[in-house]
């Protein structure tokens, strides 16, 4: 909002791997991106593309068998990866907060909504008991929950899925975060509830002005909420650009494939959706060349041998595909 020149969050060359008995699984392979204050970034990709792992990494919530191999995550001038446990805890739920995919399991079943909301307020603010209570009621109203006083006394099992996700959002917003990481917040919900939650996030973004990282496997979901979009495949960024660029001027065949697999209400029902053929690669044995090449209809010789770098198309748009180089050579 004020200082657009210095980014709020800068992820540099982040690589995260999981280790199990059979060896190393490279979940995130060298990704970098920048997020400014108040911006909404969509990270899109199919299951196993590393989109969730990379974002959980921002809050250092990588599971125990995962390891950040290299990279920096600079938030507000400080590298989160170099912080001690206490510093990270002060960041979590306070300046950066997170909502998760499955609201049915994301709340502790044995504690009331009030207890769970109160926890973060108590930890991160100096408010007294009465003001915290007032704040909790406000928060629930903010996320569109009716009868907030009554809801506070209830347990998670007494609320519907959509309601629980709203509680999660209220919890995430409780300390006015600078950044909200939303990890597939609508995937586990019914379509109508999905739309409600997206609308709510859009509305909150306008009201509060926080930045959002919106992780999803569904490009359709993020189309009108995101300022920019990153498309991930096999732990790498394959294309990044503004929402417009990704939807109308995409160059990567994978982005193309993703867009073609979104059902459209206006197209005739006789037109079949085009799925992307094949399966994502096994990340425990990474082969040379572009990870998407085996599934790509326009793959060339070089694609199987060498991994393409991100070619910059303009200031905001970049894609990792040898096609770009070929076309550039043709033109010159």
């Amino acid at each position: 909002m004020d200082d657009k020149s210095s980014p709020m969050l800068e992820v540099k060359n982040l690589a995260i791997s999981f280790f199990n008995k059979s060896g190393e699984i490279q979940a995130v392979r060298d990704i970098s991106y920048v997020l400014n204050k108040g911006e909404v970034l969509g990270i899109v990709g199919e299951s196993g593309s590393g989109k969730s792992v990379s974002s959980h990494g921002i809050l250092r919530l990588t599971p125990d068998n995962g390891k950040v191999k290299s990279g920096e995550i600079i938030f507000d001038g400080k590298d989160i990866l170099k912080m001690n446990a206490k510093e990270v805890q002060n960041l979590r739920g306070n300046r950066i907060s997170m909502i998760f995919q499955d609201p049915m399991t994301a709340l502790d079943p044995l504690f009331t909504v009030e207890y769970q909301l109160n926890e973060s307020l108590k930890k991160h603010t100096d408010l007294d008991t009465a003001s915290r209570k007032k704040r909790m009621v406000e928060l629930l109203e903010l996320v569109g929950i009716n009868q907030p006083e009554r809801r506070l006394k209830q347990y998670p099992h007494e609320l519907s899925g959509g309601m629980r996700q709203r509680v999660m959002i209220a919890m995430a917003l409780s300390c006015d975060p600078d950044l909200l990481i939303a990890d597939e917040p609508t995937t586990a919900l019914d379509v109508t509830i999905q739309a409600q939650i997206i609308d709510l996030l859009k509305e909150l973004k306008e009201k509060i002005g926080m930045a959002i990282i919106f992780i999803t496997h569904d490009l359709g979901v993020v189309s009108d909420i995101c300022d920019k979009i990153i498309v991930m495949y096999a732990g790498k960024i394959v294309e990044e650009g503004t929402s417009r660029q990704i939807f109308y001027h995409h160059v990567h065949p994978y982005t193309q494939g993703l867009l073609e697999s979104i059902p459209d209400i206006e197209t005739d029902s006789s037109v079949r959706l085009k799925p992307i053929k094949g399966n994502p690669p096994d990340m425990s044995c990474v082969k040379p060349g572009c990870a998407f090449a085996p599934r790509c209809s326009s793959a060339m010789q070089i694609c199987l041998k060498q991994d393409p770098p991100l070619f910059e198309l303009d200031e905001t748009h970049a894609a990792a595909c040898w096609k770009i180089l070929k076309e550039a050579q043709k033109q010159s």
Binding site: Q89, L91, R92, N94, F100, T105, A106, L107, E119, M168
Partner: protein
């Protein structure tokens, strides 16, 4: 409303308990009389005097008459007098007296088992596949598979005979230590394994990730959220455990000659002490039924998802 609901539930459960107690009393009474022999078979007396004694206690009457009379007396709170074990003494008095002693040992064993078991379970669960976990797993496996009399004998040989630090006799100072350990051994190990398994399951739950994402310290995550959730299965086991520990283990009490209720379980049956058999059975069943009710209510307090009905 909630209190009314709970009260109604308790009343209902007490009524059901009364019904099952009645069934237990009836079954025990008739089964007991099916056993060959009678309370006075070991008396060195002539046939005539034996018949006189049997007639004196009314045991010569038809079984249903005896049954109705027993129920009538029971309704007045009279469980009769012991025929053999403590001849002529009131069964109620014997049970109260010996249960008091069993309880002294039992409560301490129970506290030991609950604390040691849960702490060991947590230690193992939170250090999965590391050294503490391996040690606890080995120890608890041994503890679960070893019968009580083996534990009692091993303790006796090591602590009393070889090292001489503890007396074998219950009535000497420190005499309660070995019975307590013997009684607590199995439940401690069982609780440790139960807690470990439960913690391992809970540690992967999404809501713990939410707590971490909220900035909660690892202490709050583990000891408030994970522990409370993992204690739910433990609570279910506490009901029957409490009843069996409080009434005293037969083995622990016989080996260390503790004058508790546990000894009467078996001896009353082998001596055909009819009134004692009935008394101990009624007492033990009521205790189990009561403890289960307490546990169910405790369960409801810990887990709001449980509906009492």
């Amino acid at each position: 409303m909630n209190i009314m609901q709970t009260l109604r539930y308790i009343v209902k459960r007490v009524f059901l308990a009364a019904v099952s107690l009645f069934v237990i009393i009836t079954l025990t009474f008739f089964l007991m009389n099916l056993m060959p022999g009678d309370p006075f078979m070991s008396e060195k007396a002539t046939e005539e005097s034996r018949a006189i004694i049997i007639a004196k206690y009314g045991l010569d009457q038809p079984i249903y008459v005896q049954y109705v009379r027993y129920l009538k007396n029971l309704a007045h709170g009279d469980m009769g007098t012991s025929y053999v074990l403590q001849k002529g003494r009131d069964v109620t008095t014997i049970i109260t007296e010996s249960f008091g002693i069993s309880m002294q040992v039992g409560i301490r064993a129970l506290i030991l088992a609950v604390f040691a078991g849960i702490i060991m379970g947590c230690l193992a669960g939170l250090n999965k596949d590391k050294l503490p976990d391996s040690i606890i797993r080995v120890v608890t496996s041994i503890g679960i598979s070893m019968p009580g009399y083996v534990i009692a004998s091993v303790l006796m040989i090591i602590l009393a005979v070889r090292l001489g630090v503890l007396p074998i006799n219950y009535n000497k100072p420190g005499g309660a230590v070995m019975p307590i350990i013997t009684l607590a051994a199995y439940p401690t190990c069982y609780l440790a394994r139960l807690t470990r398994a439960s913690i391992l399951e809970v540690m992967n739950q999404d809501y713990l990730r939410t707590e971490r994402a909220k900035g909660m310290s690892e202490f709050v995550v583990v000891f408030i959220h994970a522990l409370k959730n993992s204690l739910i299965p433990v609570i279910t086991y506490l009901g029957p455990l409490t009843a069996s520990i409080l009434t005293g283990g037969f083995v622990a009490e016989s080996v260390f000659s503790v004058p508790g209720l546990g000894r009467y379980f078996v001896s009353s049956i082998s001596m055909r002490d009819y009134t004692m058999i009935m008394g101990v059975t009624i007492f033990y069943s009521s205790l189990i039924v009561m403890m289960n009710l307490v546990c169910d209510i405790l369960y409801k307090i810990v887990d709001p998802r449980i509906k009492l009905d």
